[in-house]
């Protein structure tokens, strides 16, 4: 029931995403043409309209769905393994690492610019290195005793990487604007390239996180009790963190730092439908995907033809909505 509702929400978001734009394509045509492309049939749209759909709107909408679903699922996963409601996918330094990676490209390989192949790779590597460093540091500081050491290590690494990033930025003042716009997050696509980058990581991570949804519920009772229930807590935590982090790094690499999705989506679902990860994890993926697609529609239409950074939209519309949910949800608590 809930899953069906979430699926309808996502379908509505996807359809809205491909229909809204300067050129009117028509809902039936869009659905028809999409199936035609997927199954290799003849598209009912004219050549130009077909290109708008297949090369511009669909890749962007699909990218938004992948990024949104990934960030929401990663946020839910982090909140579970760290038992911390404020945990978001960037908790262990993924954002700072990716920011440093992007800044390095902008500063030292200006030719490739922010649209080139180098940026996603560099941002991905930066995020992965940061989280790995946080994990190693957290382990050596006794992360076995609980998740607090890991979170502190993440904060430490994030601070250090941010310092490096600002230093590089100050040395290359001309890059500030480009890096800044990247940091605010944006869904811009060159055909299906970005979707191709994120899709394998996102799907692998979703499968791993969905596979762990029952065990994430067990972790909620604490490390000791989970262990007494037969769970290898350290292994579950490591697997979930790795899966969530790699997908987050891929999302950051193609869309910059889109804030708030990883917190607002899982918490809204918790308040409306309860905190069990069996429902929370699949719903986070589906609702997160739909949420970001809707946010992107707003980002590219509200000041059209100019585009608002999508991170601004997710926070501007997400925060008041979350406030309403928080107030309503409390009555049942």
């Amino acid at each position: 029931m809930r899953l069906a509702g979430a699926a309808v929400f996502l379908a509505a978001a996807l359809l809205t995403g491909v229909l809204v734009g300067p050129v009117d394509l028509g809902a039936l045509n869009v659905v028809h043409a999409t199936f035609a492309h997927v199954f290799g049939l003849h598209s009912p749209l004219s050549g130009a309209d077909d290109a708008i759909l297949w090369q511009l709107r669909l890749p962007r909408v699909v990218l938004g769905a992948f990024v949104g679903g990934t960030l929401a699922a990663a946020g839910a996963a982090y909140q579970g393994v760290f038992r911390n409601p404020l945990a978001d996918p960037y908790l262990l330094g993924a954002a700072a690492g990716a920011g440093l990676g992007a800044t390095l490209v902008a500063a030292y390989a200006p030719g490739s610019g922010l649209a080139g192949d180098l940026l996603p790779i560099s941002a991905f590597a930066g995020a992965a290195v940061a989280v790995l460093a946080a994990y190693v540091l957290g382990r050596s500081a006794g992360a076995a005793a609980g998740p607090a050491a890991l979170i502190l290590a993440g904060v430490t690494i994030a601070a250090f990487f941010t310092a490096l990033q600002i230093f590089v930025q100050q040395q290359h003042v001309d890059t500030v604007q480009a890096v800044y716009s990247w940091l605010l997050g944006r869904l811009s696509t060159a055909g299906w390239r970005e979707v191709g980058i994120i899709a394998p990581y996102a799907i692998a991570s979703w499968l791993i996180l969905l596979g762990h949804r029952r065990l994430l519920d067990v972790l909620a009772v604490g490390d000791d009790e989970a262990a007494a229930l037969g769970v290898n807590v350290a292994r579950v935590r490591l697997l979930v963190v790795v899966a969530a982090t790699i997908a987050t790094a891929a999302a950051v690499a193609v869309s910059g730092l889109i804030a708030f999705v990883g917190i607002i989506v899982p918490h809204t679902i918790r308040l409306l439908f309860g905190g069990s990860y069996r429902m929370l994890m699949p719903l986070s993926i589906i609702v997160g995907a739909g949420f970001l697609v809707f946010a992107d529609v707003i980002a590219r239409t509200i000041m059209s033809p100019a585009e608002l950074p999508i991170g601004v939209v997710t926070a501007f519309f997400g925060a008041p909505f979350f406030a309403v949910v928080l107030r309503t949800g409390r009555r049942y608590a």
Partner: protein, 266 residues
């Protein structure tokens, strides 16, 4: 048959011996309580049995070395109810009790009919059926305690470890919980190994008591043998009287002897 055998069990934390060569055996169906002053190592010993901390020596569960059992296999034999369970607020009582089925499920396995039945039975035995769909954070302290106990029952393990099962409860609720544990023990043939704070209740409910002090076993046996004025005053540093209570054995009560001294000197 011996359900639980501790042989030279020692735990060292931060360079300090917390449990020192503890040896004990608990028979199947028996209720054995660890008693002793604060810091005697009761909880630590219990945690070692549940394999939550590293220990020296050997713990045998129905003859098998606990160190060689996988976590999951051990969890099918031993269920733990901690002193202060961590209660996740945003799941329902049903979902919480169902966590007890975790050791019975493979990684890709979901709960089947037998799992749901075990949850249902545990909820019934603890009178939690009306609360099944409620969120845990809407329950009172006593109801949460019951929920944790139900989770341990759903785990379907023949050995139940209880860490201070009555710590935060009022006197009536304490009796209800211990009475319930005793009933469940008889109905299900459970073996209970618990730490106990209240000496009177320990004496009334446990078959045998193990008195720990400074990590060492200093006395063991039936309540009459362990709960003596001499042993309690030596190891707890307490002034107590052990008073016969017709119908329920005896009670241990604190005595304030200095009041008398003060009155004399006036």
């Amino acid at each position: 048959m011996t359900a639980l055998a501790l042989d030279g069990l020692s735990v060292t934390l931060g360079g300090q011996r917390i449990v020192d060569r503890l040896a004990a055996a608990v028979d199947e169906g028996e209720w054995v309580a660890l008693i002793g002053p604060n810091g005697a190592g009761k909880t630590t010993a219990l945690r070692a049995v549940a394999k939550l901390i590293a220990y020296d020596g050997r713990v045998r569960v129905f003859g098998d070395d606990a160190a060689e059992l996988s976590r999951r296999d051990l969890a099918r034999l031993v269920a733990l109810v901690p002193q202060v369970p961590l209660i996740p607020g945003d799941i329902t009582v049903w979902e919480y009790v169902r966590l007890g089925r975790t050791p019975h499920l493979g990684f890709f396995e979901g709960e089947g009919r037998s799992d749901n039945e075990a949850v249902e039975v545990a909820l019934q035995q603890l009178d939690l059926v009306p609360f099944a769909r409620r969120r845990l954070d809407t329950l009172s302290g006593g109801e949460r305690q019951s929920a944790t106990l139900a989770r341990a029952l759903a785990q379907d393990a023949p050995i139940l470890l209880l860490d201070e099962p009555t710590a935060a409860l009022d006197v009536g609720r304490q009796q209800q919980v211990l009475e319930l544990v005793d009933v469940l023990r008889r109905e299900r043939g459970l073996t209970v190994f618990s730490t106990m704070h209240d000496l009177t209740l320990a004496g009334q409910y446990a078959d045998r008591l193990l008195l720990l002090d400074g990590g060492r076993l200093v006395a063991a046996g039936a309540a009459r043998e362990v709960l003596t004025q001499a042993l309690i005053s030596e190891h707890y540093g307490a002034d107590v009287a052990v008073v016969d209570a017709p119908g329920s054995g005896f009670v241990v009560v604190p005595v304030r002897s200095r009041i008398g001294d003060g009155a004399d000197s006036c």
